[in-house]
């Protein structure tokens, strides 16, 4: 598990493969900045937000791991999940970092990113609210992680100050996440004519928030599993303890998916959209909602009841896939749905490469931080027992 063995040049295959992808991705990003968006992307005058926007939505939705867990542990008092808080907050922070990066790549003049705050604020825009939420929540997540840094530095007093702010930061984090997640859905409220009616809804902000909760909880289950796989005994939790927590989280998974499904069903009913369900688009919609939400919901419920952590992790991965599919459907697949096939936007290979580049970058950062800081384990100087 040691990336760089002391005294040797042996590099773990994980880092070797990632390194190659990262270098390749960085070259593509450089080309995008050198030659413009037209060179790297297939964006058209009619589809100006493409795959990168889809993954902005994905990265933020899955970064919900942070606020879902801090809310559960610090506000609702479910202390037994405390060992998973740091992995969850770190992955939230990494998710937001990826969001910011892909946003910068996508902006025509990314170096003006601070214009809404420093030059002129357009407060009637949902995007202004998003910019404000990102700025504040990114800072909040950073502050939530500062104790990790202070432990590493050995600054006990600073650590104590920041640990004292935990509950306040959790409340602020939930507030900002609720606003940010839902406002991303509100971006699409302005395009009733462009987004397929099965995905367009006046309740899109609510859909985005609720699906981020189920995605975030599922991410926590997967993170616990992946961290244990990667770090083994370094992790504070034993497999047995982790399995028990996973079974507990399975209940949250079942409830959050069920709530989301209920709201989606209400949307179809209230919007009078049942006839749409029987179309070809309807089949795709059912694959997303029944196939990737209802089914995992039932698996969550079954495996929570019968205490099967393996099945719960499967359902979690499934739910995460469902959230990714939903965001890409809204942003790309069901957008401009009336267009004939030959006029539709399809992402270029460079757009895909940049997405893979960012996902790998996220994994590398997560792993590097976990290896060097007390994320999956407790710092030996600050053991609570």
């Amino acid at each position: 598990m040691n990336a760089l063995r002391p005294g040797g040049i042996k590099i773990a295959p994980f880092y070797l493969v990632s390194g190659v992808i990262l270098i390749f991705g960085a070259v593509i990003v450089a080309l995008r900045y050198a030659y413009g968006l037209a060179y790297a992307t297939n964006l058209t005058q009619t589809t100006t937000w493409g795959l990168w926007t889809g993954f902005k939505l994905v990265f933020v939705a899955l970064a919900a791991s942070g606020f879902t867990l801090t809310t559960g542990v610090y506000i609702f008092g479910m202390h037994e999940y405390h060992p998973l808080v740091r992995p969850a907050v770190l992955s939230g922070f990494v998710g937001y970092s990826l969001f910011i990066l892909i946003l910068l790549f996508d902006l025509g003049r990314s170096w003006r990113i601070f214009y809404p705050f420093l030059v002129q604020a357009g407060v009637t825009s949902a995007l202004f609210e998003i910019a404000l939420c990102v700025l504040l929540y990114y800072t909040t997540q950073f502050l939530e992680l500062t104790p990790v840094g202070f432990e590493w530095l050995g600054w006990r007093r600073w650590r104590k100050v920041m640990v004292g702010a935990t509950v306040g930061l959790s409340i602020f984090g939930l507030l900002l996440s609720a606003l940010h997640q839902s406002t991303l859905g509100a971006l699409y409220l302005t395009v009733p004519g462009k987004l397929h009616p099965l995905w367009y809804s006046p309740y899109l902000p609510l859909h985005f928030f609720l699906s981020s909760v189920m995605g975030g909880i599922s991410m926590v289950m997967l993170l616990g599993w992946a961290s244990k796989k990667a770090f083994g005994n370094k992790m504070e939790l034993s497999w047995q303890e982790l399995d028990r927590l996973t079974v507990g989280l399975g209940k949250a998974g079942a409830i959050s998916t069920a709530v989301y499904l209920a709201v989606k069903a209400l949307d179809i009913s209230l919007g009078g959209k049942w006839h749409e369900v029987s179309s070809g688009w309807g089949a795709w919609y059912l694959l997303e909602t029944l196939g990737c939400v209802l089914f995992p919901c039932m698996v969550f419920a079954y495996s929570h009841h019968h205490r099967k952590p393996g099945l719960i992790r499967l359902a979690a991965a499934w739910t995460v896939f469902g959230v990714v599919l939903n965001r890409l459907n809204v942003a790309v697949v069901a957008f401009n749905w009336t267009f004939p096939t030959n006029e539709r936007y399809f992402p270029s290979w460079m757009e895909w490469v940049v997405v893979v580049f960012l996902i790998v970058l996220g994994l590398v950062i997560y792993r590097l931080v976990c290896e060097r800081f007390a994320i999956v384990n407790q710092h030996p100087d600050y053991l609570s027992h």
Partner: protein
Amino acid sequence: MTISRREFISGLATSALISSTASAGALKRFRGYPQRLGLLHDTALCVGCRRCELACQEVNGLPPHPVPIGEAKIFEKPRGVSEKLYTVVNRYRQARESEPAVFRKHQCMHCNEPCCVSVCFVKALVKTPEGPVLYHPELCVGCRYCIFACPYYALAYEYGDPRTPRVVRCTMCYPRIKEGKSPACAEACPTGAIRFGRREELLKLARQRQRKYPDRYFPEIFGENEYGGTSWLTLLKLPPEQMGLAADLPYEPLPNLTTGFLSLAPLVVAIFPGLLGGIYAMTRRREELARLQKQQELERLRKALEEKSAEEVEKLKRHLLARLEKAEFDRQPQATDKTTGASGEENK
């Protein structure tokens, strides 16, 4: 231009106040700026010569067409606006082959309540009281929310430019209007299909034509009410869906679809801290009560031991054992003490 943080925050607060008073006074509808200008395109008079396109390119300094004027093959595929062409004329076939084809000019419609203006997070787009919607490239960050939100696909982006890409679109020839001239396309039109003037008068003219030639026109004027109305009006020969437009568009301006949601944000900021703080207080109180109860039981046990009351000790023992058993039972699906791990951290 820079503003201090205080100014920025007070600006935010003021805008929140303004928007709330605006919605409180929303019993009246905004009819658009009075005396605003507009253009009327009469598709029954348009012959598809594309001189308007050429004039537009000249006046905006765009490279000339690869396909020269008069070439019919350009109409084989409908075109959209682009960074090289701010207005396009497309051909639409009638139901019967024998009937002549009709043409429609497309460009920024200059909405009365433009969605592009409302979604810009740096206010780089402005609706002028004269009618035209204007764009300020010196503010633009390039998020392209305006292009995304435009219901008419009338805005384009300079994707090929890595340094100074701009959003480009018809400006209604604002500089020419300021000089007292007509927009270049209206001036170039040889058949009088494009008319420039006050929007109200153009509407009157359009209605007159509809009354005079009821067989010639589709009975509605596109742009009169669509999404709150536009400055560009189109007299349609065919129903809108046969001329590359959407049919039965709502009258509600598009920005209204987000205002309701956005007005929730300050409420969330106002309510959430108290609400979540309350939930946290309940959690803490429950934990505190449990701790107190434990303490009291231990206190009683200590007292009983001090007083050497065997009966009392036995009673407490039974009581504690029963509680322990129950706790074990309740805990079954949950974690054991070990995993509660560092839960004491925030209590330190």
